[in-house]
């Protein structure tokens, strides 16, 4: 049974300023959606508010995941329900190893899920955990020693992005939002990260790829592309839309907007 993330008429403010001005979007597991947009269009605001960043206030609208209203839930609860955000700028947490943090996260999610399901908690054993970690690190071509480094501390841009995808691999979300995962990556890193993302994608996983450039979409190929301009989805279409944007730029979209509010582009 596919699960859906339904964003309905969403309005989001930060410090009294409205950034998202009415967004409707539905992402199902098994689908790959891309959100493209110029700087300042509200891409990160959208992803932060879906996961529940305290600075962002939802003033109108709903976000339903698998039929439940997630806006009532704390970020950790949303994660336990199956939502994940790969950050554009992952923050450093000194003194905490990637491995120990991940193990805590896995168990924390299991704890919540057990409670909701009325089941006894089964924490992941060390052996099971490290076996899985090794498997996923191999997939992402990460050196095993990486797991013992302090979370994001001193990581290069590429290492941070790969670590985000590693975390996604370990937490097995149903819907993952990738916030400008391609920024700061060179061709090889981009390919490795994309391969990792593709390996995680499947009928039970939906992806929302947020990006400024078309590059990553050559590797992680969306079925649906949406263009976010000034806090609204101005245009939606198929993968060709991404190519058109590449060719004509975002100004072209703004010109299109002049003709009609939202258009579905064909061919």
């Amino acid at each position: 049974m596919p699960k859906t993330l339904e964003i309905r008429k969403l309005h989001v403010e930060i410090e009294g300023r409205e950034i998202i001005k009415g967004v409707d979007l539905t992402v199902s597991t098994g689908e790959i959606h891309a959100i493209m947009g110029p700087n300042g269009s509200g891409k990160s605001t959208l992803s932060y508010s879906i996961l529940g960043h305290p600075d962002y206030a939802v003033t109108q609208g709903e976000v339903l995941f698998d039929g439940e209203n997630v806006l009532d839930m704390k970020p950790d609860e949303r994660a336990a329900k199956g939502l994940f955000l790969a950050f554009q700028y992952p923050v450093e947490v000194p003194g905490v190893t990637l491995a120990s943090f991940l193990r805590t996260a896995v168990n924390s999610i299991r704890k919540k899920q057990a409670r909701w399901g009325g089941q006894p908690l089964k924490e992941i054993s060390a052996i099971e955990f490290y076996k899985r970690l090794e498997e996923k690190m191999n997939l992402l071509q990460m050196d095993p020693s990486f797991a013992q480094r302090y979370l994001n501390e001193g990581f290069s841009g590429g290492e941070k992005k790969r670590a985000e995808i590693l975390q996604m691999a370990m937490l097995s979300p149903s819907i993952a939002i990738l916030d400008e995962t391609d920024s700061g990556l060179d061709i090889d890193a981009l390919r490795i990260v994309s391969d990792g993302v593709n390996a995680l994608y499947g009928p039970d996983v939906g992806l929302l790829v947020i990006t400024h450039y078309q590059r990553i979409l050559r590797y992680v190929q969306p079925q649906f592309v949406h263009v976010l301009v000034d806090g609204r989805i101005a245009l939606s279409g198929g993968p060709e839309l991404a190519e058109q944007l590449e060719e004509h730029g975002y100004d072209w979209v703004k010109d299109q907007l002049g003709e009609s509010a939202v258009t579905r582009q064909n061919g």
Partner: protein, 469 residues
């Protein structure tokens, strides 16, 4: 929401855990301290004349000395209202059934072995570790290592004790050193012969009895040239004490080429004033390392210090302090460079929460003539919420030009961005804060023996629980 460790902090420990029967199974001197009581203590212990005189002289100094004009607020201390000597009995103090559920739960969560729980809860006067202890005893004896209580050492090895007792910390050092010198009881005595390296850390646990976990412990450690020993004192499990003043003195002599590491973690109940004087003399090419963890007590004033006496001497103080509601941890370290070509390092990590106050107070002193001294001080403070407070009082007295002295201080709050990042991965806000805190103290914790590191982290996690919002 109940906090496992804060469960009874508002209740008077004396009421709940006071003596059941004043007369039958515990002996103690009457309230207050006087030269008569000091004599009584010495008499009860059957001490030699010189120690009795030392105590009496110290008492005289105590009476005359004034309270420190700095540091934490000690106005709550009532010297007349305390018992200065309690002789433990072999009989039980209280029933296991009477121990609150939450206390038992804490032991459970910290993974404290069964046998230790009863001791820590005051149910047993002795920690029964005979089997473990006796086999280790055999090893030490073969090496010529002496590890016993200071009382015992005074009886069995009076000459060594007399040679060093009071030489590192004379009674006149400060009011509380004077008090300890007058009424001391218990504590550890360690003597390591030249060239002997004791591989397994010596722990106070092994020869524990109620007296040694007492108020006025006096510890003396002597490391002969080329030797090594690691002593671990205290424990992370909360220790419930009816005695509200703990004033210990620790003297350490590290001779040429020797190395001593002293690890101490205290988690006294929140009625305790924990005022400790700890000092080591490090001689030529010797190394002294203090690892200090302060979690409990109402007030702690403790500044492990090292006097770098001869060329090549090295000293290190690594200190962690956690101050929750109503607590004041005034901690830090002192490095006194007497000789040239000596080095020191002080690292302090303090955490404050709620009305808790965690301060770094430190001294780096370089005497004239002590050139080519290298000293680094690093104090980091982490504030867990808006009310928390942290202060730094670093003092540098540098009387030489050719020295390399550095001081770095940082203050940080638990960042919203860090919290969001961690919670978005499924950690509750409490868990996320605990992770951030454990990362903050990690550079020091990784120096602790593993069981302590694990216990310390778990303990801090418990402190975090139910404490957000």
């Amino acid at each position: 929401m109940a906090n496992a460790l804060n469960f009874n902090r508002r209740e008077s420990y004396l009421e709940k855990y006071g003596f059941h029967d004043k007369n039958s199974y515990v002996y103690r001197t009457e309230k207050g301290v006087s030269s008569r009581i000091v004599e009584e203590i010495s008499g009860l212990k059957g001490e030699p004349e010189w120690m009795r005189n030392f105590r009496l002289r110290s008492y005289g100094i105590f009476e005359k000395k004034s309270m420190p004009g700095w540091g934490a607020d000690l106005s709550g201390l009532r010297f007349d209202d305390l018992y200065y000597y309690v002789k433990p009995s072999d009989k039980k103090g209280r029933n296991w059934d009477e121990v609150p559920e939450k206390v038992k739960l804490t032991f459970e969560r910290l993974g404290i072995p069964e046998a230790e729980r009863k001791y820590l809860a005051g149910v047993e006067a002795q920690y029964d570790s005979e089997s473990v202890y006796s086999s280790l005893k055999g090893i030490w004896e073969k090496l010529g290592v002496i590890f016993c209580s200071t009382d015992e050492a005074l009886k069995k090895y009076p000459d060594i004790v007399r040679q060093y007792f009071g030489t590192v910390i004379p009674p006149g050092d400060n009011k509380f050193a004077a008090l300890n010198s007058a009424v001391w009881s218990g504590g550890s005595f360690i003597y390591v012969p030249a060239g002997v390296k004791v591989e397994i850390p010596l722990q106070a646990y092994f020869r524990i009895n109620a007296e040694s976990a007492g108020q006025f412990e006096r510890t003396l450690i002597i490391a002969e040239p080329g030797s090594f020993v690691h002593y671990v004192e205290g424990c992370t499990a909360p220790v419930y004490s009816t005695n509200s003043l703990h004033s210990a003195v620790v003297e350490i002599v590290v001779k040429e080429g020797a190395r001593v590491r002293y690890t101490s973690i205290q988690n006294w109940s929140d009625n305790v004033y924990n005022l400790v004087t700890k000092r080591a003399f490090a001689y030529k090419d010797a190394t002294m390392e203090w690892l200090d963890g302060n979690l409990g007590s109402k007030v702690t004033m403790k500044y492990p210090s090292i006097y770098l006496m001869e060329k090549g001497a090295r000293g290190e103080v690594l200190s962690i302090a956690y101050a929750g509601n109503g607590q004041h941890q005034d901690a830090g370290g002192k490095a006194v460079h007497i000789a040239p070509y000596t080095s020191s390092r002080i690292v302090s990590k303090s955490i404050s929460k709620g009305t808790g106050r965690s301060s770094y107070r430190g001294l780096v002193h370089v005497r004239k003539g002590a050139h080519h001294v290298k000293s680094k001080v690093r104090c980091d403070a982490l504030l867990l919420d808006d009310r928390a407070r942290s202060d730094t009082y670093p003092v540098m007295e540098i009387n030489e030009d050719e020295v390399d002295i550095g001081h770095e201080a940082t203050v940080s709050k638990v960042g919203d961005e860090q919290l969001f990042y961690l919670t978005s991965r499924g950690l509750t806000e409490e868990e996320a804060t605990a992770v951030i805190v454990s990362g903050f103290i990690e550079p020091i914790v990784k120096q602790l023996p593993m069981e302590y590191a694990i216990e310390l982290n778990r303990l801090i996690e418990l402190e975090m629980e139910g404490s957000v919002g």
